[in-house]
């Protein structure tokens, strides 16, 4: 008999398939290091991002252009301050370098804020959430059979009178909130996704849009400022010595003045243009994404309007720039709970707020500790209580009741070191036991029993064997077992 059993457990497999596939390869590494220092969540983040300073800084993978931006700004400003400012502050006013300095400081501050902060990444769904959604979608679709990807899933909501379609993200296993979009470069869903900007090396989304806007606005002022005063410098010099002489002198005495002006000239047009464009977007409360797609344009129909706009330009601007700043949802610097790492996407979890944190900490760890104790206790007693273990989570699947029970029993047999899985849902627990035990040495004797009872004949069959198993398992090396269990789960998903 195949581990998959009949069609009932097959459906479980399907769910587990989806659940386990949500984990990408970086997920598997923490399992091996159960005994080493706990990992921070950024280390197991499934998106394509780079993290620095132990998770404080977050950027996209391709950062080359960002360094170019930095270099351009630093070099241009540096040259301006070194070569033009002394003359100008003498001739005109020392306020020029002062204002230039303030602008430069502002530009750098906002640039770094834009590049280093979390744009509003949505964490991926936990396996339970994903399974629950799947179930609801299947019910809605009339439970299509697995084996092919069903048509794209959408949900319609009415926002302020306008119908908006929410799309299901196959990577993140969630229905994207309105205005969110999945960035293919960063492989994340981002809230209020504007665009992915290579110049800042990050996505621009809800949390860093205002920094981005202030950056391009202040950069426009800075480039115009530098451009204007470099020209002024040349003009003043030419008044002294004649224009051609000034130009002749400048390479020798004022190097790069022309280069500076050229760079500034081109930057001015592009940056100022971009600022203008984003000013328009802010005042109409649209994202670049929406504008490009023409989501709210009148061309789509007379009834089409932007449901997010507050009606007047002033409120729209204030909301975008001075509205509240929502917190990062991905908790980069939190520690990965060993029992929560498994198949899940990034642990959405531990908040920085003490109350909830201790609560969820205690929940998971207590459960694990209790379940481990339970396993050891049960191993000592020949008669196996076929009670549901703490670590098994049973899905609210209709008609699956007969499976849940034995499934729970099967899960019991699995050793529960702290790093194993309260998040392991019953469907995976059901079928993963078999390949798991097959893999682990010393448990082959279980295989025939397991093989013959894929879905729930085990408790009646061999309580004693089971207790033996648990006894052996509890003595066995938990590290490799854990690794095996993960491999088993991943293998299982291909069943």
């Amino acid at each position: 008999m195949t581990p998959g059993g009949g069609s009932g457990p097959m459906k479980d497999c399907e769910y587990s398939q989806i659940s386990t596939h949500s984990s990408s390869s970086p997920m598997e590494s923490p399992h091996k290091k159960k005994k080493s220092a706990p990992k921070r969540k950024w280390e197991v983040f499934p998106g394509r991002n780079k993290f620095f300073c132990n998770g404080r800084i977050m950027m996209a993978r391709q950062t080359g252009v960002f360094y170019l931006t930095l270099v351009l700004i630093l070099v241009t400003s540096g040259l301006f301050f070194t070569f033009d400012c002394p003359y100008l502050s003498e001739k005109i006013t020392p306020a020029i370098p002062a204002i230039g300095g303030i602008l430069f400081f502002f530009v750098m501050g906002t640039l770094l804020r834009t590049s280093f902060s979390d744009p509003g990444v949505l964490p991926r769904a936990t396996p339970d959430e994903a399974a629950d959604l799947e179930r609801q979608i299947d019910i809605a679709n009339g439970s299509s059979s697995g084996g092919y990807r069903p048509p794209p899933r959408t949900k319609e909501v009415i926002i302020n009178g306008q119908t908006v379609k929410l799309k299901y993200c196959f990577t993140c296993k969630i229905f994207r909130p309105p205005r969110a979009s999945h960035c293919s470069l960063c492989d994340n869903c981002v809230e209020r996704f504007d665009h992915h900007c290579p110049w800042v090396g990050n996505c621009v989304g809800k949390r860093n849009y205002r920094f981005f806007y202030m950056f391009i606005l202040s950069l426009s002022f800075l480039t115009v400022f530098i451009f204007a005063f470099v020209i002024t410098h040349v003009i003043l010099r030419s008044q002294q010595t004649g224009f051609l002489n000034a130009l002749k002198d400048s390479p020798a005495r004022y190097p790069f003045t022309e280069a500076n002006s050229v760079v500034c000239f081109f930057s001015v047009w592009s940056i100022v243009g971009l600022s203008g464009f984003h000013t328009y977007l802010i005042s109409s409360n649209q994202t670049t994404n929406e504008d490009i797609k023409g989501s709210w344009s009148n061309k789509r129909g007379k009834e089409n309007y932007n449901p997010y706009s507050y009606g007047n330009i002033f409120t729209n601007c204030c909301a975008a720039l001075c509205g509240p700043l929502s917190p990062s949802l991905i908790d980069r610097r939190g520690f990965v709970q060993p029992d929560a790492t498994q198949l899940a996407g990034p642990s959405n979890g531990i908040t920085m707020y003490g109350a909830t944190q201790s609560q969820s900490n205690m929940c998971d760890q207590d459960q694990c500790i209790q379940s481990t104790k339970f396993v050891l206790q049960a191993a000592a007693t020949p008669l196996l209580q076929s009670e549901p273990s703490i670590t098994s989570e049973e899905l609210p699947l209709p008609g699956k009741t007969t499976i849940s029970g034995p499934c729970a029993t099967l899960t019991l047999g699995q050793p529960t070191p702290p790093s194993s899985m309260p998040n392991l849902t019953s469907d995976t627990g059901l079928t993963d036991m078999i390949p798991l035990k097959e893999e682990h040495e010393g448990h082959q004797f279980l295989t025939p029993e397991e093989a013959s009872s894929p879905s729930g004949m085990l408790p009646s069959g061999s309580p004693i064997t089971h207790s033996h198993t648990m006894h052996v398992l509890s003595l066995a090396s938990q590290d490799s077992l854990h690794e095996d269990s993960v491999r088993g789960l991943v293998k299982l998903s291909s069943v």
Partner: protein, 163 residues
Amino acid sequence: PAPQVHSLQELRRSASLATKVFVQRDYSEGTTCQFQTKFPAELESRIERQLFEETVKTLNGFYAEAEKIGGSSYLEGCLACATAYFIFLCMETHYEKVLKKISKYIQEQNEKIYAPRGLLLTDPLERGMRVIEISIYEDRCSSGSSSSGSSSSSSGGGGVGGR
């Protein structure tokens, strides 16, 4: 022992997780964080409708307060802008303050109302502000009322013995 009454600690020790219910977001008013107040069917037998609705409405109120665009948020925004957002390095934002209030509220609700009924609320912040996850716990010794837990409990009934 009383079948369904647990304190929060007892809940973890003696009960097992039966199922989870997810209260989804309500987008009818836009992208502000609001949750649906529709009463989930699975909670029918576990908690009074009114208590649940009150919890969700209070949470919605908290989130509305956090995301409110008004005088104080403008002030905070302008001040932050003026300092090139460096002020965020040392100051806690209004939103974060409200989130702390929310987590306290959730813990309080769990202790007073939900744990005694074998339920547990998870802070939406831990789930990406997408859902309010309500875990339904099954008493090991009682015959569970929750559908998926029932068979396991009944099969466990025989072996329970000492409990």
